[in-house]
């Protein structure tokens, strides 16, 4: 059989079948179309302004490596005039993060970008390995997720940068849309598909330039550009429930490749339809993105509630999020304002954490609440 020519340039031999629409392209055309699409996303949603300093949340994995590479290329090609910095978070997981950080360090020299690493140990006094030692493997993703989001913000603040870009791809966004529907989380649903999260109240805005890029295309791009990335799963177990959403996305993609993009579109449209479009949120969350968040707890709650008393009742906020052994701080009730998360239905309003000053919808931010539990246990062990 003669080699199939590329459908775009009609000259080179097609080596890539685009996962997105099954177009057969040559290597050069694929790379250029992938970059053009990211450029389209950036320009159509006006992500950057000239001269902006932008931190790339870099884990050393495929998504953030591709993001760094594409942004560097586009910055030079289209003259964005961006000042790009790599920002990494060291969770302190031996055998996983120390290796991936080596990759990031190599990337920093390859892309000639300065690199900043913030560690959980210096920010919180705990590495993830110590956390897992204390609380066990179950539910540790909650800690890691909450800590990581704050760590990115704090790292950006240390660098005096107001914009962090992350490598979330279309698969991640689609998965989050489905997860938020399955959890019944309307507030997050309206936020999760926004390309920019964090609002005027927060100091650091976050965006996802690869929001419309398929995971498979990111892998192909990394492969054909011969990028240096680290591909190992985190050694601590991921959430089982998110796994079912992920496998659902994968089987939908097999049936109809456009499904991922269609879910993202649906998510954006449904965001427009949420009854109370309050954007205020606790910033330790970007719409339930990534394999983190209170997912593990929600999952436990879902299992427990599997025999819902009445299907028509309102979803109650999961009280188990607050550990029982935390001393409740007195909160002055303001008329017409929510005191804490116990009211059902209404979206939480944004305040500041009384301990660290980080933005939070509760009196104390999630990270401080979690830390308090951890520190309490540590004191016990010391005795």
């Amino acid at each position: 059989m003669p080699p199939t020519p590329c459908v775009r340039c009609h000259e080179q031999r097609a080596v890539v079948k685009r996962p997105k629409n099954h177009q057969k392209l040559c290597r050069e055309c694929f790379i250029s179309i992938f970059e053009d699409e990211v450029h389209h996303t950036i320009t159509s949603s006006k992500l950057f302004y000239p001269g902006e300093r932008v931190a790339i949340g870099a884990s050393g994995g495929k998504d953030s490596t591709v993001l760094a590479s594409v942004l560097k290329t586009l910055n030079e090609r289209h003259d964005y005039k961006l000042d790009l910095v790599l920002l990494s978070v060291d969770e302190g997981i031996k055998g996983y993060r120390d290796d991936s950080l080596e990759t990031v360090k190599r990337n920093a020299t390859q892309y000639e970008m300065p690199l900043k690493i913030v560690g959980y140990d210096e920010l919180y006094g705990w590495t993830m390995d110590q956390v897992v030692e204390t609380i066990g493997k179950k539910g540790n993703c909650t800690y890691c997720g909450v800590f990581r989001r704050q760590a990115l913000d704090r790292g950006a603040k240390k660098l005096d940068i107001k914009h962090v870009v992350t490598g979330h791809n279309a698969d991640d966004v689609a998965e989050t849309v489905l997860m938020n529907l399955l959890r019944g989380d309307l507030a997050r649903l309206s936020r999760s598909t926004n390309i920019v999260t964090g609002d005027s109240l927060s100091d650091v805005k976050r965006s996802k330039p690869l929001k419309y890029a398929y995971e498979k295309e990111i892998v192909l791009y990394a492969h054909h550009k011969k990028l240096d990335y680290f591909s190992t799963e985190c050694i601590y177990s991921p959430e089982a429930f998110r796994g079912t959403a992920r496998s659902l996305i994968k089987s939908l993609e097999k049936v109809r490749p456009s499904a991922i993009l269609d879910i993202v579109r649906s998510g954006e449209d449904m965001g427009e339809l949420t009854p109370d479009k309050v954007q205020a949120s606790c910033a330790c969350d970007d719409g339930g993105m990534g394999s983190c968040g209170s997912g593990a707890q929600k999952e436990a709650a879902l299992k427990r509630d599997s025999h819902t008393e009445k299907l028509e009742t309102e979803i109650k906020l999961n009280k188990s999020i607050e550990p029982t052994d935390v001393v409740k701080l007195p909160i002055r009730a303001k008329p017409g304002k929510q005191t804490n998360g116990t009211t059902t239905g209404a979206l939480p309003s944004l305040g500041k954490c009384i301990k660290c000053g980080y933005m939070s919808s509760q009196s104390m931010c999630q990270a401080c609440t979690l830390l308090e539990t951890l520190n309490k246990n540590r004191a016990d062990i010391a005795i």
């Binding site: 699409e37 309307l186 419309y212 659902l248 954006e268 509630d305 599997s306």
Partner: protein, 388 residues
Amino acid sequence: MPASLESNPCTRCKAEDAPFQLRASPTCGNCFAEYVQTKFVKRLAYLHKEVRVSSHLEPRRYVAGLSFGPSSSAMIHLLDRYTHMQGRKKSTSAFDILAIHVDTDLSYPPGSRDTPAQVLIRNYSAKYTHFSFRCVHLSKVLDVQTVDWSALPLPRPEGGCSEPSERLRQMFDKLPSVSSRADVLRLLIRHLLLDIAMKDHHYKTLLLGHSTTSLAALSLCEVANGRGFAIPWQVNDGRFPVTIYDPASGAEIQRTTYPIHYPLRELFRGEIDTYISVFPEIAALNPSNTEGATAAVVSHKDTSIEEVMARYFESVETPYAGIVANVVRTTGKLDRANASRPSCGLCGVVLDERGDSRWAGEMGDDHNPNGEPRLARLCYGCKRSING
């Protein structure tokens, strides 16, 4: 006693024989049926309150969709039991039910008798004697004016092919994938049922037999079809927007709404299956109705998004029943966009015009290069179904 551990009595009536599980407690057949009946009757009462126009005892006239599947068969059975119960009371309004099956088998000419569907409908008719049953061929959908036919790839009658089933079949052949076909078919059946219900002015509401599980699957199916904007209309109880088009020009003539209700919306699929096992006569009406969505996947090419979703929810209903209800509740809370805007010619829901300009997911190269104007009348999801 160890013996009692093996066969716990029914937690509700203490009957010894309690083979079923209701919310993790042993339950007897009678109590289970009563539970299902209560859930169903509550929704009927809500519906009655919503649609009645007079405080006098007027008969409740509803059109019920009947696919012969477990849920719609159970719905007819529940309606029948409820009618019997109500019949004894003089203080409630009587029921007048017209159950319609849409025969989607396009291989039979529309006039033919004794098709499998018609045999089944006679079975139903003989069993439920005080309800009316009708079997309608899908080709009748071509006479329906609530679809903007000019927006669909339907061959023109003057183009050598005038036979309705043949025209429909050609249209389905032109659709890009199995998912598209399943999606368009579902929408056309809904249009046909709505049309029959609306044309006969006696009938006040269209009842569809979706369970919580199938509503959840329908919600996520619409999400995956890119029709997120349509979900609040597609899965909520209430008035559904209907636009009537001029069949010749495709111009909009009139806009109205018609109530669609899902009286089984608070029952899981598993609960309906148990209900059917309590009443063997339901399954006896349609002996071939045993296949589930769990059949092994042979090829992803021949699977539709609808099937993937049905399979997913069938698998999560037992371990995570909470989420199935969550999906329906969450999507039910979404607003319905302003109905005065132009609507989609196929799914009938208001077009999200701003959405297309907001949407940055595609660079525009995937769109039809000829820029055929007819496609502007369809929403994002319907364009995907028609164009691929």
